[in-house]
């Protein structure tokens, strides 16, 4: 951890817009968004995996783009439009449907992050190539190894979206 982060930083009031609701919380501005969501606001669908932005398990959508909430200071998210796995988003819901249809998850723990990453992809690319999918999902680890099904479920969602 950087040295300045070790210093005590006092909490301030921060307003977060998550899944269409406004939350006013007291948090240290350097607290990663992940912990504000999980421990203060109480949405636990967003997971902790690595704490340094290398596994993707903590991904949420910020103004439509996937971000790693475990390394994003909560103060940076103020005023932004955030969507977690619990949120309402048409693409996310289609993806969730495909995830169930293809029985993607094994232990399921990384899947919220995978679904958010896939949502980010399909929101900006309606017909991704295999390469596009690999590129968009490169930041997400699945220790159970469900990659083949994740990829197929993304493709299935593209079909559903374009129907």
């Amino acid at each position: 951890m950087l040295n300045w982060l070790k210093k005590p930083i006092l909490a301030i009031m921060i307003t977060l817009h998550i899944n269409g609701k406004e939350h006013n919380i007291d948090a240290a501005p350097d607290m990663p968004l992940l912990w504000a969501i999980r421990d203060i606001i109480g949405y636990t669908g967003t997971k902790y995996g690595c704490g340094k932005g290398v596994c993707g398990t903590c991904k949420v959508l910020m103004d439509g783009s996937p971000v790693q909430s475990c390394v994003l200071p909560v103060s940076v998210a103020e005023g932004k439009h955030l969507i977690t796995i619990e949120g309402q988003n048409e693409t996310l819901q289609l993806l969730q449907q495909s995830w169930a249809e293809l029985n993607v998850p094994q232990c399921g723990f990384c899947q919220p992050g995978q679904l958010i990453a896939a949502t980010g992809l399909l929101e900006t690319n309606s017909n991704p190539t295999d390469q596009d999918i690999d590129d968009a999902m490169i930041g997400n680890i699945c220790r159970c190894g469900t990659y083949q099904r994740i990829k197929n479920a993304i493709k299935r969602t593209v079909e559903l979206k374009n129907q």
């Binding site: 005590p8 909490a11 902790y48 995996g49 596994c55 094994q106 490169i138 680890i141 190894g145």
Partner: protein, 731 residues
Amino acid sequence: MKPIRNLSRRSFVKSIGLASGGLILACNTAVFSNEESKENRGPITDFNPNLFVQLNSDGTLILVASRSEMGNGVRTSLPSVIADEMEADWNRVEIRQATGDKKFGDQNTDGSRSIRYLYGTMRQMGATVKVMLLQAAAQKWNVPVEECTAVNHFIKHSSGKKIGFGDLVEIAKTLEVPENAPLKNPKDFKYIGKELPSIDVGKYADGSAVFGLDIRLPNMKFAAVKRCPVTFGTVKSFNKTAAMEIPGVVDVIEIPKINRPFGALGGVAVVADNTWAAFKGVDALEVTWEEGANRVYSSDKYMEEITANLFKGTKVAKDKGNVESAFKNADKIVESTFQLPHLSHAPMEVPNAVAWVQGDTCEVWAPTQEPQATRSEVTAYLDVPRENVTVNVTFLGGGFGRKSKPDYIVEAVVVSKAMNAPVQVVWTREDDIKHGYYHTVSAQHMKAAIDADGKVTGWQHKFGLPSITSTFSPGVEYAAGWEIGSASNAPFEIDNMKVEVGKAPAHVRIGWLRSVINIPHGFSVNVFADECATAAGMDPLEHRLKLIGSDRMLGKEGNPYRFNSTRLKNVLKRAAKNAEWGKTLPDGHAYGLAVHYSFLSYVASIVEVSVKNGKAKVHKVWTCIDCGIAVNKNTVRSQMEGSAVFGMSLAFYGKITAKDGAIEQGNYDDYKMVRMYQAPEIHVDIVESTEAPSGVGEPGVPVIAPAIVNAIAKITGKYYHNLPLEDHGLV
């Protein structure tokens, strides 16, 4: 026939956590007639049921899941067996997770044996409920029972009238439990052998599945722990001032080192209002350690040591025929040394637990593969009666063996007791990688004699690795008997075979990791057999089938799990056929094969690998598994897919090293995993079988790394004996 009892009217019902009112049956699960089960289960003398089925009057069918769900699909596969036999509607099934309690029988979810232990009894249970419902309907309608049939949650009469299962509960409850209820003809199975999706898939997809990390209790505190970098080092002193200055930190608590296999490592916990404050507090905390004896542990030096030990003072584990004379008379000698590093489980969900100690009672919520061992550890620490401790099992965000060891749960109990509040202990990823129960490190030396016809006439396998037993009996320096079997039982027909075990003391906690000893032995045996084929100038497939040899059974007559060489050859032939072994591949591409018998299942994989500009890529994997009856093919398929990726990660990247006693890796950036762009296309072939069901969660792993190495050898001419491949510049 196992005794099945009707508990509907007994007070016992309350104690198993089921609402009364329904038809409730319970029974012991079958103990199969193989020796392994007997060893693990012990004799069952009392009626000690571990399987509970409740049919409510609204038709809901509730099953108590005694086993942990960690991606193994057990909450789906087991109940589907009952539902099938009783002709229930799968959509009416609900699962209730059991707490850790001996009355549920063996709950240790590891060893790839949940289905193996429970399948037969599950069928019996379902069939029994069905007979009772048929009798209830016959009684209600006053017709002969032979005129009634069960169809999708209804009992139908030949006249055409029908009644729902739920509406028969009140009568069924009063009936005696029939003995020897007839089982379905397997050809009529509706769910068994099919592809049922996970019953929990919706919860996984919408984020509502509650893992250990997601438990929230009123006024719960969060804690993180600083532990000595050297295993079994202890706290000399600490200064909590800087930690206490972090906003949100409420206390600093010392955790004693608990000298039990699953006891806490010891350290200093920072308790806070949120996880982040606890992490920052740990960072700020100053601790001075007494590092202890293991500070000498450096893995490079250790590898040299255990490799040298293969050539002095070994213990002979098997000596069949005369290998020395085989070597003397050989046309060719093949010889290789294998060195494999420690591995870490690194499940996506870090170790964590919530504990709430109130007076002399304690309740725990944790992602655990072993709730009964958890209960034992908590009971021992608190020194309270066992019934005062409740262990709730959450979903597990991966386990792979790590979550069989409840040291992290004991930490939560220690801190909760000190704080007099519910506490969630959360390990950072660094804690997980640096303070695990590591998969063993190993050195192996193999030597083979090959005659003029290319036949292997002598096989010598020496290996040394710190034993899992050392975690339970400190000081053990040689592999235990069960860690030798996968070498001494190499399924080859060779006249002269010798297996020797070298000395290897442990300096870290050694644990079991998905497929355990089959990782090092499956690797060395498969790569070395391939080298023998190359030395003999033969095709590896043809050579391997000859090496496995004649059709034969090993093991005791009557044991449904006897080793069958025909089944082993069959999976290899089928995988090869699926991959079209022998066909011309693009330049720089090659196939590699491996076949292995573990957890009583037979698995072969063919991999297509390319090496371009010195980098290896795995394009395709064809796995064939014979696990006897495949209860849920969807689960078997996903376990084989997952095993391919798990095996690939350990082949490409898996390496934990120690320097001056401290583990050097700390997160997914230096203990890497295969990602989607590297993941191969995986084809899974499941052998249709009527044999008794065997393991699925683990046996797909051991074949992957050797198959990859064998393919690379076809391209580069070089067999890599040491993993990971990243160390050779291949990744």
